[in-house]
Subunit: 245 residues, 6 copies
């Protein structure tokens, strides 16, 4: 199986890091291609960023289907352009936001998301309601670190532990979701730390979870409903030619 | 008061028609500027179209604020790029979808929307839930006429009457919303026809309604919450320079 | 346009003050008539008060339609007798509770109401659910000052600032509604104070908001659905003749 | 135990009929007093009627508590003035609407109400949501017979059977509620007829159900929460003296 | 009327204590038979315990109907095997969880349950949602005392007072439910203590409440809907013969 | 990875058939053991059957963990004993009901389940609400064929096509779930038939879907939250020794 991983931002250095991260989680026989978008925002922290990145995501997604990929993964927790890509393609398109929220809804009665900034809280809350499981959301908390500064691991880890504790003790969450796909390489350590503190709750890392889910969909020959995500009709669209793509 | 009307599609001939239509509803003292977007889709009938049109909408919206407009109206029922534009601007930004749904929620117990195609039903349903009044939605029906073919008035009128009857009698709607801003010049006739058939229900025409609402917001000095729609942080974004704007 | 403002309590001195307050918000060309009810309660702080004031409200509302008014505004946050008046009349009848809640639902993701006493919290919460947007309610807080003691402005302002801070910081409200129409002349000062403290959120003053909304309805030729608010059938009713009206 | 049955309309002949009806359902040791209100409407079929009848209901309810009654039953499916009376009194006040809806919610997964006229559907639907069990409502249907014409038993019975069949077969109701307390003396016959047609579902007759519930509350020493239904504060109220009561 | 009280655990000494407790609440003319189950768990504090006790509950319930009882009461707050017993029997089967939740939904706007251990919170929350009134749940709190240690009355009373205070003041509950039927003989004292502290809220004791409700159902000739709780079809079932019953 | 497949009924011949069915869906490296329960019901079509089968399911599930299995799959659409087994075990326990509902919630806006008999509709509806996605349920339909008669493939296929058409056209479902794990070997044919009729919607076969999901959980080292599904405390339980297991 060949999967396309779209890193939906223009910050090129996330490409290699994501590839390294993602390779740990693949089943034998799964090949991937990881690619940043050519035009958009340096990171996604608002609906404005999502709008700026959507054309690039759709461009890569359409190419992926033409090139024979079996599925597409849009590697950002806000699931930018997910509905649009699902309309345009027949192969399954998966986002980590929706996926991890649905896994959490199965594994627990109530869950929290720990994300980067307050500015994305409403986006993620709407996403949970649109997925259909908003009422299982205990809280959305944030570490107050912008995406491009997540590289400071010890700062990130401290903030994640602090917000996780609040989610579990104050908001009565029964499961946790790492709320940004840029929080790479910290899930195992955070999980161990929470276990040490007596919390036996699932910690869902959206990147590995969504990839496993996409592999499952491809194996099951399942994809998005073309009744929900109907093919866009043919008409004049001059955006991509203006973008030179 | 100066209002910017963004016609969020690239089909230029909607510009003049919209201007003519809109002028009937303005209060004395309100000036408007109507403008189509420079790049995007010929019409909006999918999430894919919305993604294609968002960059152009945001470009015009940002300019409008710089040029001193008092408010922005995005003239499409799906409210494309509304959240992104509300984040980026301080002046009020209004969409006809959200607005007409909230007026209908006040004036009735339950309402229906009559839109163009089945492909936009999910978009409008999500919009109603996100606005917060999804549970008052009796149904979303469609006339099965694409936006660019709405010019055939008698075909449109027949289909509108038929679907309105079904909404009122079968779905028990108590109010109706015309579900596409391209359904210009038919509201009064449809209203009269429904009255003749014994239906005393409000028919909400989203263009006039959203304009009146925007005028009210400007007069009340109200605008979108900057807590919900936080300013996007500064960062590299190369989309618009690639678009040459 | 001629609008009837019903002050739905028997405390006469509210009449002049309301007239003064209201006149600031009217569009050119709008005439008003402000009138207290002849029988009822001195103020409205319970369902019991609402029941006591309803006959007087309906009496004035019916007269207003007979006298050719274009719309009726029932000037109390609990929207007393709103459904009954909407049934009885054809001209639009508007309440500040429902209206400000729907404006807040558009402008923000989640909002709080700051009202007078704990005794009205349930009334307002039910009103929000009946309007259809209950799930966007962050909280209802109260300043613990009875309606007839709202005249002490500095006490009121201090309490409003304190409860607003709690709504914004503890309850995560993104917009605020002044929860009693008797909180006159404080909106601008409160708004400025909150801005000074770093909160960029809409503060909705229900009186001005509902008046602007009523003007919009009259201009749009919209009124309540007569399917939701059906005309009461003719039958013996001896209440008003007993009341000598 | 002494219970006050308020017949909340001014049509005197309902007094004797209600007394006869009600006496069948009382436990040994329960005494009742049945009384029509002195001013209001001839019947209740709208929010307008409810507002007209509320002052009379409250007058009788307050007297009942003073006279030492142990509980009050407001004998109309719309539960008019229930919240107001619960605020004013300490003894339990019960309405057949709320009560029968909650019994139905226990005994079935989903239920329908068969009421008199379309004009009360919204009132009953709001009542179910306010009671908290709106999502278990399969439908509200009506026999299209005004309250004062319910005396034609065979017409009523035919219409009840027809609407019950639709509720059970089309709306998938699992239990039925007779939606008007004026539908006296038909429950047993309707129940038998439905059983004969193969429907083994509870038919809830609101009068007997609410009386049994009120007896239970009195025995259990339970009454409405004074936190939800807070005592109205003392203030000038001139309605009842104008009414000469 | 003859009612069967099933004590759905194998701890025999609860039998006598329950019988003593229950006898206080019966109407004249009601006879009861109290019986522990022959196989299951010593107490119920998990879904696992509920599964272990269900066969014994069903065994006693089926016998009760054969022996001519008029109704069955399953004396545990989690309502174990309630749906299964309602399917199997025609006589009314009642659980204290569902019943007390519905009484609380009528008497108040929002209520809390004070139960034994954190491990049953999810069970009770699901039960409230399935009953249909989940949105009226203010909170579920627990005293952190296992069922079999509830005998220490002063420890229990202290913990109940503490958690009740939190429910009323922090969670804004307007009514309270004792969340375990093993909390015998404390309701009156707790009620008095809360009254002394200024709280005028109903305290619902599920045992007396559910018994009164069951008596009402029998008198009203009402029982569970056989559309919701359909008779299980005949087929091979070898569980009970293996159990030697 | 070693997975335990519990066939939660006592009809032995389902064991071999399930094993054959299941083997098609396994990833390389996954080993399974398929086993019927020793005591319970011949099939599961009611809450009563679920209660009868739960002890056997829990017996096999506990053994599976002791024997070193990596995960447990309870092969019945009603997810019998799922919560109890999740409490008792640490390894992931998965049910096809919850799983297929959550997959459908991701892939579509609204979905229907086609099950065997009307008697399980309420069980499945409650399951969907408890999973958290009840509002995405378009309908639950049934073929009216008992589990033990599903062997007549052509009868089953005809009924499935008919009910699927109704779900898609009348109930506006956008995805379908086969609502009984006994509907073996028909998914591909049904899918092809629906495609031929112009429906491009996902058809979710719960057995393959839940197995793929369980493999994903094991690979991701995820399991049920021990906060939601807390370990049952130690206490006397005499059920299983009575059952001789």
């Amino acid at each position: 199986m060949k999967l396309k991983i779209i890193v939906p931002i223009i910050t090129k250095l996330f490409e290699a890091e994501t590839e390294k991260e993602v390779k740990q989680f693949l089943s034998p026989g799964t090949e991937i291609d990881v690619e940043c978008i050519p035009y958009g925002s340096a990171s996604i922290e608002s609906a404005y960023d999502e709008a700026a990145c959507a054309p690039g995501i759709l461009h890569l997604a359409e190419n992926a289907q033409k090139q024979g990929f079996d599925g597409v993964f849009i590697d950002c927790m806000g699931d930018p352009a997910l509905a649009a890509a699902r309309e345009r393609l027949e192969i399954p398109v998966v986002g980590p936001g929706r996926t991890s929220i649905l896994f959490a809804a199965d594994l627990s009665h109530r869950f929290s998301v720990i994300t980067v900034l307050e500015s994305v809280v409403v986006l993620l809350e709407n996403l949970a309601y649109e997925a259909g499981v908003g009422k299982k959301l205990a809280s959305i908390r944030w570490v107050n670190i912008p995406v491009l500064e997540l590289g400071d691991r010890s700062k990130l880890m401290n903030a994640l532990v602090e917000e996780s504790e609040k989610a579990l003790c104050k908001d009565q969450a029964h499961a946790l979701i790492l709320g940004c796909t840029g929080m790479m390489g910290v899930a195992d350590e955070l999980s161990a730390e929470l276990f040490k503190r007596g919390h036996r709750v699932p910690l869902i890392y959206p990147v590995s979870t969504a990839l496993a889910y996409l592999e499952a969909l491809v194996n099951l020959k399942l994809a998005q409903s073309k009744k929900t995500y109907q093919f866009p009709s043919n008409k004049e669209r001059n955006l991509w030619e203006r973008l030179g793509s």
